[in-house]
Structure formats: C-alpha cells, structure tokens
Symmetry: C2
Subunit: 460 residues, 2 copies
Amino acid sequence: MNAILLKHRELCSCDLEIWHFILSCLQICAAPGFFTLPSALPACSTRHRRKTRKISIHQVPTMLWEMSCVLIFLLARLSSGGAFIIAPSVNALSDATPFLGLRRSGRRSIKMSSHLHYVSPLKEVPTHPDESFRQRWEEVIYSEQDRICEAIAAVDGTAFKEDSWQRGDKGGGGRTRVLQGGKVFEKGGVNVSVVYGKLPPSAAQQMTSRGHKDVAGDVPLKFYAAGLSLVIHPHNPMAPTVHANYRFFQLFNADTGEPITWWFGGGSDLTPSYLVEEDAVHFHQTLKDACDKHDPTYYARFKKWCDEYFLLQHRGETRGVGGIFFDDLNESGDPEKSLAFARDALHCFVDGYVPLVERHKDDPYTDEQKAWQQLRRGRYVEFNLLFDRGTKFGLQTPNSRIESILMSLPLTARWEYQHIPADDSWEGRTLAVLKKPVDWIPLQGTQEEKEQRELTTAAS
Amino acid sequence: MNAILLKHRELCSCDLEIWHFILSCLQICAAPGFFTLPSALPACSTRHRRKTRKISIHQVPTMLWEMSCVLIFLLARLSSGGAFIIAPSVNALSDATPFLGLRRSGRRSIKMSSHLHYVSPLKEVPTHPDESFRQRWEEVIYSEQDRICEAIAAVDGTAFKEDSWQRGDKGGGGRTRVLQGGKVFEKGGVNVSVVYGKLPPSAAQQMTSRGHKDVAGDVPLKFYAAGLSLVIHPHNPMAPTVHANYRFFQLFNADTGEPITWWFGGGSDLTPSYLVEEDAVHFHQTLKDACDKHDPTYYARFKKWCDEYFLLQHRGETRGVGGIFFDDLNESGDPEKSLAFARDALHCFVDGYVPLVERHKDDPYTDEQKAWQQLRRGRYVEFNLLFDRGTKFGLQTPNSRIESILMSLPLTARWEYQHIPADDSWEGRTLAVLKKPVDWIPLQGTQEEKEQRELTTAAS
C-alpha cells in the first residue's frame, strides 16, 4: 500500500511543472506493487492538464492537495503495510502535518509515524542554500559585473567609475559602477549589492501580500539578498535603454537563525524610444535561448510576466518592448537549478544588448527625436518610482545606499503637458506597441506545445 | 444633576483646541446649579494642559472620553433629575451610544433616553455640507484659478493654455490651465478638479490607515472631491518653485446616499534651488497672517506638519523650505469655518509668491547653477511620485486625467550619481536647511504662549 503526497507550496507557485511531477509520480505508482491513486486526482490526465493551464492555479491545486492528504491518511490508517509518501523533498512534508498526524521536530525534520514511509522521486537536493551556495552566487554576479562593464566601456571608450560601499553596521555592502557622460552612454550603472539583516516590517508585509506564506505571522525575520542590477541609457535616441536585474533572496528566522525560504528573481528588458523590430527580436531571442536551456516553458511564461510587470498602470502602456521577468522562483525545489538558470539569463545580456548599441550609436537624429527620447526617459522615471518592486524594497531597507538604488534613473528626463504623437509617426507606432505587447518570437515547438497554445488562445 | 460628554473623534484629531473646549465646559459646569465633574479629568488644569501637549494625544483623550462616558452614565442613572450632555454637536453623541445606552436612529439622530438631556455649548452648525456648500467651494476655487493665472500670466507675458475636461461617464471633470515654455516660467499648471463617484477600495484603505474610522467596514462609499492644485516652475534657478493645493472632500454611503464625513486639506509650500532667507520669511509670513485670522494655533501646527509631510524620507531632506500643510481638517465641526480658512489660505498665494518671482526672474546665473536647479527638479519628481498623497489618490482613481495629475512634474529634471555639493557652497547651505527645517518666523505672542514654547522645547 502506498500513496502520493504533493508539496503544497510547489503547487501554488507553478503550473506546468507540477503537472509533470504529478504524472511522473503516477507512473511510479502504476508500477507493480504500487497503489495508484483513484480518480480523486482528475487533473492528472493529459487532457485535463491542458485545460487547467487557464484555471486559477491558486485554488485548484490547494484543493487537490488537501484531498490527496486526506486520502493518504486514510490509506495509511487502513492498510497494514502503511503508505509511502512520495514528495519532492522531506521539507515538503512539513505542510502536511495537520493532515497526516505527523509531528514536526524543528523546521527541517518530520517525525514519521510507523505506518508512513518517505520516498522521493527526485534526487535529494539541499533543503536550503548554505553559505557556499551564497558564495557561488556572489561570484557569479561579481564576475558578470566585470564582464558587462568591460563590454560597455569598450563600446564607449570610457571607463566605469567604481564605488565599493558598506551598509553601515547593518550588514553587507556592494560595488557600484557608474559611467556618466560618456561618448555613447549618457548614464549607465552596473551595481552588485549583497545585503543582509533584519527584514523591515513593511518589506515583510509586501512579501506576504505576494503570497509568501512562510513570511506571515509574527516571527522576526532576517534576510539575505544578493543581486546584480543594471540600467544603461545611451545618448542616441535610436539606441535603446536596457535594464537587467538578477537577485537571490533568502529568509531566516531571526531568533533561531534557521532558513525559512529562498527564491530567485529578475529579468532583462529593453526600452527603445524608437522601435526597431529586429532589435526587439534579437534581444528576445537571446533570452529565449537562455531560457530554453533550462525549461521549455520559461520563456513564454517569463515574457508574459515581463509585459505585465513593466506596465505603467496609470497610462496603460508598458515601459518598453519587454524581455523576461520572474520572481519567487523556487518551484523546482532545487536552488542549484535556479542558480544555473539565473546565471545563464544574466550571462546572455552582453550578446543581447551590446550589438544593438553598436548598430545605433552613430545613427543621425533630430532635436525633436532627442526631445521624444527625453519624454520616454520621463516615463522610465515614472515606472521606477511608482511601481518598481526593487526600488521600493531598496528605499524601505534601513541604511540602504540611495545613490545605488536610484542609479537607475536617467541623467535627464522631461515631462510635457499633453504631448501626443501622430498615430502614423515613428513615435506613434512605438507607442502603439507599448499599449499592446507583441510576441516578438512566434513561439515554435513540438506538436503538443502547438496544440496547447491553441487551446490556451481559444480559452482566453 | 448634569455632566459632560466630549466628542471622541474631536479629541483625537486636535490637541490644544480640545483643552480649551474642556475648560469652557468646566466653566459652564461650575456655574450654580451645575454639577462639576470630579478629578476624573485631571488633564483640565492649566498646568497639566501644557504638559499633555507632548503626550500622545491618541491615547490620553480616548481614555478620558471613555471615563467621562461611564461617569455620565452612572450620574444619569443615579440622579433623579437626569444628566445634561454637553457636546459640540448632536452628531458627537453617536460615538457614545454603547456607553450611554442610547439608541441610534439613522446616522444623524440619537434617541435620547428620558433621563439624558442634550445641551451644546457651541452654536448649532450644519451637520454635513450640502449642495449649496459644495457649490460655494467650487466658486472659490474657480475664481482663485482665474486670479492666480492672471497674476502669473502677467509676470510672464504669456497666456495659459486651457483644457476643460470631463471624467468620462464616471462623474466630474475640471479645468486645467498650463503655461509651458514661457519667458519666465518653464512650466506651470493651475488645475481645478471636481470629481465624484465610487471610492476605489485602495483609496478607502488609505483613508482608513489615516484614521478615518467612518471609512472602515464594508459599506460601499461614494466620494466628492473638489480642489485647486498648482505647481509653478520658473526658468531662473534663483526663482523658487511653488506648490499649492486646497481641497474639500466628502464621503457618502453609496447605498443610502447619506453623508458620512467631510474634511478640508491642503497647503502651500516653497521650493527654492538656492535659498534666499527673506523669500522664505515673506512666503511664511503671508501664510501665517492668513492662518492667524482663523486660529492662533493653525500656523505653528500646519508649518510643522508641512515640514513633516514634504519629506523625502529616503534622503532625510525636505522638498523645500515648507509653508503650511493640513489634512482631515474638520475639527471645528463647522464646515463654514474650514471653508473660510481654506479660502483665505488659498487667497494669500499671489501675495506670497509672485513678488519672489518678480525679484529673481532676471537674476544672473551660471550653467552650474542651472544644472543644480535641474537636480533639485529631480528631487521634486521623487517626492511627487514616491510620497505625494494627492498624486497617489489621483493615479488610483479610475478614469482620472493623468495629464492633469502629473502636470506637477517639471518640464525637465536631472539625476547625477553622487553629486554632493561642498558644505560651504550656496548649494550646500541650502541642502543643510532642507535637512534641518528652520522656523522662519520666530513665533511671538503672549507671555503664556512663550512659556508654553519653552516647556515644549525643553521636553523635546
């Protein structure tokens, strides 16, 4: 007698992956000597799986998970042989204690009762990133900072100015590199920051509202956040502005020091003042290639997320032509996998962006075109100050380095009252794309993927 | 037998006034035939009154009020003659129903029990502003818009461009006037807006967090908001930027249409790039004169509130040299009084600001000084997008007119990485004042006021 336990949190934070996992579990269960869960898990059929892609994933999996738990409990109680629990990791079981009659001992281990056995279909992964993991991530971002700055400085012929800084006695610091008033670039900043300390209540509040259940409650939290963020604004209005940010975040119980949760977040996005379609395609293609190496679903999901995130809600227009954006990425349960993906997405930055600047840095332009660029810079400021989560988190963090956080703002910006370009002008056509995001890379793939896209399109 | 009931909300929203009121009530009570409350109200002595100025006024008065209520109830029950209730208005009693065993009938009237009699020491005032009140306020803001635009246009020699607009079918509209690229002014906007409709939940949330108890709960709300807001940015870096905003706000139960609460808010504040002390003194003096006509405590309170409100928290510097700021002003319980004050504070704008521009519009300046002004413009943008409550409310209101809300942003702004002026430069001295607000008008007054200031200073 045996059964499946699915990790609740995993189910909430992803969609397609978890159905793959469910299916692989069912295959194991269907093997001789294993008990297959009855139809209480209808979502596991391939057909249903496609459909549920559009259902609110926060509701369905929770319900399924609870049903599964109750079932497992009953099976285990009724069977003389006990039940096997199949879960991504032992940590996954902690959520199930109320249902399974298990006892928790500490955050990491679960006291199994005699009639329940734990089996994982995945290779065992470190439950939480440790010091050496954090060090490796820091090495990634510091070395990418070197590489990116070298490439940008080579285009400009001007060196970056470097400031290493400490966050007072509050923990951490960073290395800010800025190129201001260069030949090609008006202002560019590439910043590494590694900060840690007590999590401000307002920041904890924001995390809770984003669905970090671990953050709820009155447990005081410590955080560790390490990331690279960059924004590059060229002089020439035909050369696009770019932004990238890749960060690793970990939370700890401030009293016991025990790790609570971790995630990666980030993305890259392109903001042209004047849309050049092949630039957008090139930028997206490099990101898609990096995504595809890790997960066939990443690019489509993170491209959409990017369009939704970099939205100036009050104007109904995106900040630019997008790229990828993701947050709270820990769905694989394996920090190594997420680190590898974040590293590759960051690594493709130079190839994705530098050729676009090379192509346009000497394009001719008029004063009006420069003024339009300045208006678009104004929109950039609006997004960063009104909506950007990273900026908000930074400004709320005590003793944070304001100069590094607001480095993303352009050197100059402009706001004109009622400036509305003609629809058929280059400016108007660019604006139209910002109001209705475009799929730069018509998604291609297997027959199955194609079918799924058609179903998705039909449902939406 | 008789007693005092003090209105709870009044006690929370003000400080000095209420002690005046308590004292006057006690004087009435001390007259022959009246019963004076015993020492349960220790805060009423003159000496104690001075001290409590520094105590958290949210706690002490609430406690006092509850004690008073219980006392009145006991007195009324025990006495054969019943008790008199002395309150600012009959509306004040609604908060006391749980304590007094009164029954509410609707929002406005209280069913008195036979042993309680209502007496008001104040002249009866209209409980809620009506249509004619709102019309009079609209006349004030439209005529002040004319007057201000005339004065500014006369200095510049350029006319304002006018846009009248409607808020879709959602209710209301306004009249935006903008002067862009003038001879003296880089960008100036003077905007009247009169909007009403369903209150967005996020806006209701903000009001609740500001202590609007009436807003709590699940009652759907309608709002009416009418105000004038203006921002003027001159070209010359020696001429200061100015902002003013006076608004009237009313909330209604969306189902029954009954008025729930109302308030005035607003203020005027000055933002020089280069501090000229006599300008700051002149600007503050006109505001103090307007305040003093209505309440001797207004200027000192609203000046302090202004310094606290226009604070760039992340930089620990104020936006400018201040002025006055107030919000949720309905403490007198009399809409007419608040309207008269808001009208006079708005009316003094032309005298307070225009002479400063006349004085500096042709001052010589260097390119470096212009660049410093542009950096200060950047700070202005930061405040408006990160902190300004009016901007946030506007952007959250569905179908609001973005161009009018963001009219406050300067034509051009600048962000330089790590620009730190020398301490002994004009820029550095200006920055020092922004980091530590100055009392521009040494407060003078009676011996008693002077003593109180000294006590306050000693305590802080």
